[in-house]
Assembly symmetry: C2
Homo-oligomer: 421 residues x 2
């Protein structure tokens, strides 16, 4: 198989399909999504059978348990995929919305129209549900998509792709609007990320290793997320109960997520009160605390205490481990965060109005919070309805990326025969 | 001089200054802009003297007349620079604006805040006025900037940079918020476009050659504009007078601009009426018409008629030359435009409501117009107040880029102690 030729062909088909999708009306897009959801429910047994082939191959290849778990398509996962599509049906269609239409002194009227980006390439690892979630978001936002899932899930992804194509056809939309890369050859990824003539943006979903590798080679722009080194800063004007609740939740609600707190900063004025109260909570979860000298002095005797090194301030643990630092004040906290965070999500705990406003304005991260757990940084929690990923970048989309992140604004001008003087 | 070390130092200073600029209040930013305008007026003689040094060197090096003209800083150009800054003062400050603040079922309030991008690198050629225009837009939008002007204008740019720094200091803002690359070594550009740790976006202003070269090497994202292959489509439901007025203006108002029409498409039903009327106008300007067979048959006898080749449909002439094609209908026009245009600006001339809506929705370009000259695609004409450039890209900013294009939206969450369940 000539991978270059194969990927080029996918690209040509995707570009052609993207034009039809851009002008598809809301009813057709919603009909496709509903048909796909119905087909997924109808073919649940066949999907599980395809998934069994993937699981058998993965077990034979010695895949570890956590990965096997992500690869498994349970009855519940199948139902959730179908429900996810129906949720996307219920979201407003962003395409075609015209805003800010204003008359100019020359007589022309100028505004902006929301339009699809065109062709979205999505690169992901084991989870087969991404195939359906991503296809659904791209269909609703009027884009064509090329999906490159993990080779471990190839049978399952092919089975899902057939159902997606069935739904598209049933709604009179081009089947090429959603294409799966059917080869497991890694060279296909290399092609996908270097064909800007056919692909407008790449959304990589996966580990830091995958994304760092793609960044080296890609010539297509990416909406990407690298790591989540999130901070909570407990100000000395914090409400003690809120501080303990939020700092415990931000670390312990889930360890492996990108919006989990990895570094806790505490103002020196409140550290002697809040740190022991928090340590009591963390002790129940055996959370290891990597402390600077001041925090270590306050927490002497904590059973899982380790002295922090410089490296700890820039480490994403994804585990029951937390870096803890005592800072003089808000200024030191903001400076530390802007120096070490991955610009994902940071939260201040304070009852002080002016400090809250300063934190919101001066912390340069995609999500900035007051008195709330960093775990809220998520497309569903923010009301986007669904998310295709989270962006650490500043250009285009920042933070959780929903339907709007897959769109762009073009200028529209209503004239009445005007010419430029 | 060690260029790598020098550029790295500029980057570190710019990043530090960007933090101060991000929190600078509107009054300080406006004061800096007013002080710079005043300093430019006060030092007009010194600026002209610095410019004379550049002009003398350029003449000695045999620079051609058109380039010398762009390099010249006349009294009028100096006054225009100062006025431009005062216009930027009068624009609303986009930074800090919070929008769409909504309660979520969990109790948190989620919205978005407009924030600066950080550090903007601007690469441009001869025109010294870009130094001041770009500095002004970056200051108002709370960004730091590194300016790399053409080596031909180095004396003039250094003189302007001193006045900019004087204004920043007078307003209590960091002088490093605007830095000029003081070396004319081309390696400096190579460094600037490959230091994403210090530079958030590059805005290249210059010819297609410059930008194509930068695209090969840049690892920092760019807001870039390559070429303007703009179309006017005269529908068979067009008002004949509007059609002639707009198609004449779009070609002949100025030849060298990116929003000038380069291809005219005419519906076959109206071509026999509209083409001769237009040719009469174009003949007065000696516009060469590169015609397909159908247009050539109608225009037989036109003094500057040439048969079009395939290459003409994708050529940006920037000259009194126009490609002319007769198409069957709106569908063929839209397909031709989406195949050949550079996605800059296209206009339909029609009185038909449904066709106007279809053209607006289905043509995939940064500006899409009805019954207006493509020459209106411009930041000032659109009411942006000023423009840093025009983007042909789909991500982030599309079309004329003003202050908002130099900003980004971060999520802000107002909590009351909420934790994730």
């Amino acid at each position: 198989m000539d991978i270059k030729h194969y990927m080029n062909d996918l690209g040509v088909r995707a570009r052609a399909a993207s034009r039809a999708m851009a002008k598809a009306d809301t009813a057709a897009k919603n009909k496709a999504l509903s048909l796909i959801a119905a087909a997924i429910r109808r073919e649940a047994a066949a999907l599980r059978a395809a998934n069994e082939l993937d699981l058998a191959a993965a077990k034979a290849a010695g895949m570890e348990a956590a990965m096997l778990d992500r690869l498994t398509l349970s009855d519940k996962a199948i139902a959730t995929m179908a429900e996810g599509l129906e949720q996307i049906v219920s979201l407003a269609d962003p395409i075609g919305e015209i805003s800010n239409m204003k008359y100019r002194p020359t007589g022309i009227q100028v505004g902006q129209m929301r339009v699809p980006l065109g062709v979205i390439g999505i690169i992901y690892e084991a989870r087969p549900n991404v195939t359906v979630d991503a296809a659904g978001l791209c269909i609703k936002s009027g884009n064509a998509t090329i999906l490159r899932g993990g080779s471990e899930a190839i049978h399952c992804n092919q089975a899902l792709a057939m159902l997606v194509k069935e739904g598209l056809a049933g709604a009179g939309l081009p089947a090429d609007a959603v294409q799966i890369v059917e080869t497991t050859d890694r060279a296909a990824v290399g092609e996908l990320i270097t064909m800007p003539q056919y692909v407008d943006v790449i959304v990589p979903r996966g580990g830091k290793g995958l994304i760092a590798r793609l960044m080296q080679e890609a010539t297509v722009p990416m909406i990407k997320h690298l790591d989540g080194i999130c901070h909570v800063y407990i100000d000395d004007k914090a409400d003690l109960k809120k501080a303990v609740d939020v700092a415990f939740n931000a670390k312990c609600h889930r360890y492996g997520t990108c919006n989990t707190m990895e570094t806790l900063l505490v103002a020196q004025g409140i550290a002697p009160q809040v740190l022991p109260a928090l340590a009591e909570q963390y002790a129940g979860k055996q959370v290891e605390l990597r402390c600077d000298d001041a925090a270590a002095a306050i927490l002497a005797g904590y059973p899982h205490l380790v002295k922090a090194t410089e490296e700890d301030w820039s480490t994403e643990y994804l585990a029951p481990v937390l870096a803890v630092k005592v800072v003089a004040d808000l200024d030191e906290a903001i400076t530390h965060i802007n120096d070490y965070s991955s610009k994902h999500t940071e939260s201040i705990i304070t009852e002080d109005y002016s400090r809250a406003l300063r934190f919101l304005r001066e912390v340069d991260s995609a999500s900035v919070m007051v008195n709330a757990s960093t775990r809220f940084a998520d497309g569903f929690e923010y009301g986007l309805g669904a998310e295709i990923g989270i962006s650490n970048d500043k250009l285009h989309a920042r933070g959780p990326v929903g339907l709007e992140g897959l769109t762009s604004m073009k200028y529209v001008v209503f004239g009445h025969g005007e010419v430029r003087q």
